[in-house]
Amino acid sequence: MADKNVSMREALRSALMEEMERDESVFVMGEEVGAWQGTHRITAGFLEKFGEKRVRDTPISEMVIAGAAVGAAMAGLRPVAEIMTINFAFLSFDAIVNAAAKVHYMFNGQFKVPLVIRAASGWGNQATATHSHTPEPVFAHFPGLYVGCPSNAHDAKGMLKAAIRDDNPVLFTESIALYPKASPVPDEEYLIPIGKSDVKREGKDVTLVSYARGVEWSLDAAKQLASEGIEAEVVDLRWLRPLDLEPVFESFKRTNHCVVVEESLPHFSFGSEIAAQLQEAAFDYMDAPIKRVSAMDVPLPYAHDIELMALPNAQKVVNAVKEVLK
């Protein structure tokens, strides 16, 4: 069958719907997922199709949304809990990093936590300081948790399905900016294994390492660079936990130059980890320091033009590439 062009929103919606059709124990819970049809419409039509038992509206109670999902998962259900936006997961922080990520280990494997916590992530739409986070690296700091961050519709569908079928807790974040973006998605079922990164573009001159929305900036930058004769390879890590860096090392050993691209804040972050591992794994192949393109290190403002100054973009990636190549 021919692939259809669908938005990441639609791909996520169908992934979730297919998994709920496939497995009775999969259900969704969260704020406004039911009657309201989902804040980002990922669960649009779900209440009507699956009913109140499996599509559960919650109060504005992020601690128990995450915590009750952990308990339900330990007991054998497969909850897909929606935290409306990742910003509110700061209220679920203990439940996610100290409960979900710990019970399997702490009780020596007696309990499994087949849980997915979905959250919309990202900024650049004037949501302002408290609502403008992409803190995936902060969550990925903690062992016991998986963290998935798709960069397009195709990956989103296969990754979410894999996350739902996995027996470990997965934090799954979805870039708000990517929801409407369409890409070809096969009709037949497919899974994208947890912890498998993907080379989105091949190139010999420089390695761009990113995930989620950063991949889009990287690919746009690669196009622009190509027009200037610079061939960038773009590696989409897809998952921050587990980190699949082999393709990055392999690529870097050919290109000898690397720029890491992230929507997140710069310090103690994604780019830090990639640069640290790369210089250790491929020291002899470094022709230049590894550069990072990240958000500016400020709380994010409301006014749109200064907000955009703080946000990474393709041009900033291009400039960084030229720096490392000079």
Partner: protein, 328 residues
């Protein structure tokens, strides 16, 4: 300082009428401006329909008292006396805005008026309110804190911990729930095991305040004035106003303009419109007052028009603004 709780005189009533009309007019303007993309972004939560609660409750405060609220904050700012020019400038993300354009619609504040701002994490401002009240108690002042919150925020952990702390520390806070029956789309009965929200005071051994008609500014003012006096003397009190929002939750609401399935409820509440109720009261008590009301309407229109003009002619923030105030 003591707060006046005697029946409000004509002057005060006309002042409230002016504030309510001004807020309504301001919100209507924001609505238009957003549709014209002159106000941008994903968050814009209008106060239309709730004006009597904001105006009546803030009017019960003295100038040294404090007020803090959630993201639905334009009306509270205006009721507290923030210049609509500066509020509109903030809506447009201008350098002249209350927060220099860095806060936006959800984060209006005016330190000089003890308006501690609007906050966007649901219930996240409740502990701040407790802390501000602690300061008042710490320095031995008589000032209180009015903390407005939505019905949906009462199911959050912040609500529990903040109200309990205010009770064990006897903090001078009036916890005021603006119960507009719904969160974004979830109704109070669906989200709260105890839909009679003021009853939650019992869980903290706290004074259970009244549940008042949030559309009647006089009733709200009376009830909040008593609550403020109680808080000054004895400590925290929880109260509730029953009110309604005409628009959807915010501009991102699919039913922002057309609220399918809510037509009857909307009609019912439009009949209880704060402006109508107050206008009728004024007519019944002060004879032919229509000319004055019309004039107030015109003033409000003018004020909003000037606010828009001011905002649009104001400069945008600069890179300097982007990187300043991260730290003191």
């Amino acid at each position: 300082m003591a707060t006046n709780t005697i029946a409000p005189d004509k002057e005060k009533l006309l002042d409230w009428y002016h504030q309510i009309v001004l807020i309504r007019q301001f919100e209507n303007a924001c609505d238009d401006l957003y549709k014209q993309k002159r106000i941008t972004g994903v968050y814009l939560h209008l106060y239309s329909g709730l004006e009597a609660t904001g105006v009546g409750s803030v009017a019960a405060l003295g100038k040294n008292d404090n007020v803090i609220t959630a993201y639905r904050d334009h009306g509270i700012a205006i009721a507290r006396g923030v210049d609509p020019k500066l509020v509109m400038a903030e809506m447009m993300g201008k350098r002249t805005g209350t927060s220099g354009g860095k806060g936006g619609s959800m984060h209006i504040a005016e330190r000089d008026l003890n308006f501690w701002g609007g906050y966007a994490i649901v219930a996240g401002h409740l502990p701040l309110a407790a802390g501000i009240a602690l300061k008042e108690k710490y320095v031995g002042s008589e000032n209180v804190v009015l903390c407005l919150m939505g019905d949906g925020s009462t199911n959050n952990g912040y609500f529990h911990e903040s109200l309990n702390l205010s009770a064990v520390w006897d903090l001078p806070v009036v916890w005021l729930i603006e119960n507009n029956l719904v969160g974004m789309g979830t109704r109070v009965e669906t989200s709260s095991g105890q839909p009679d929200l003021v009853k939650r005071a019992i869980a903290y051994g706290m004074e259970e305040g009244p549940r008042v008609d949030g559309q009647d500014v006089i009733a709200v003012h009376q009830a909040v004035s008593e609550a403020v006096e109680y808080a000054r003397k004895h400590g925290p009190i929880l109260m509730e106003t029953l009110t309604y929002r005409y628009k959807g939750h915010g501009v991102s609401d699919k039913q922002y303009d057309v609220r399918e399935g809510f037509k009857e409820e909307l009609d019912e509440w439009h009949h209880k419109d704060p402006i109508t109720i107050l206008a009728n009261y004024l007519k019944a008590n002060f004879g032919d007052i229509q000319p004055e009301l019309d004039q107030i309407q015109q003033e409000a229109d003018k004020t909003v028009a000037e606010a828009i003009a001011f905002a649009e002619s104001s400069p945008n923030p600069t890179y300097e603004d982007l990187i300043s105030n991260v730290y003191v």
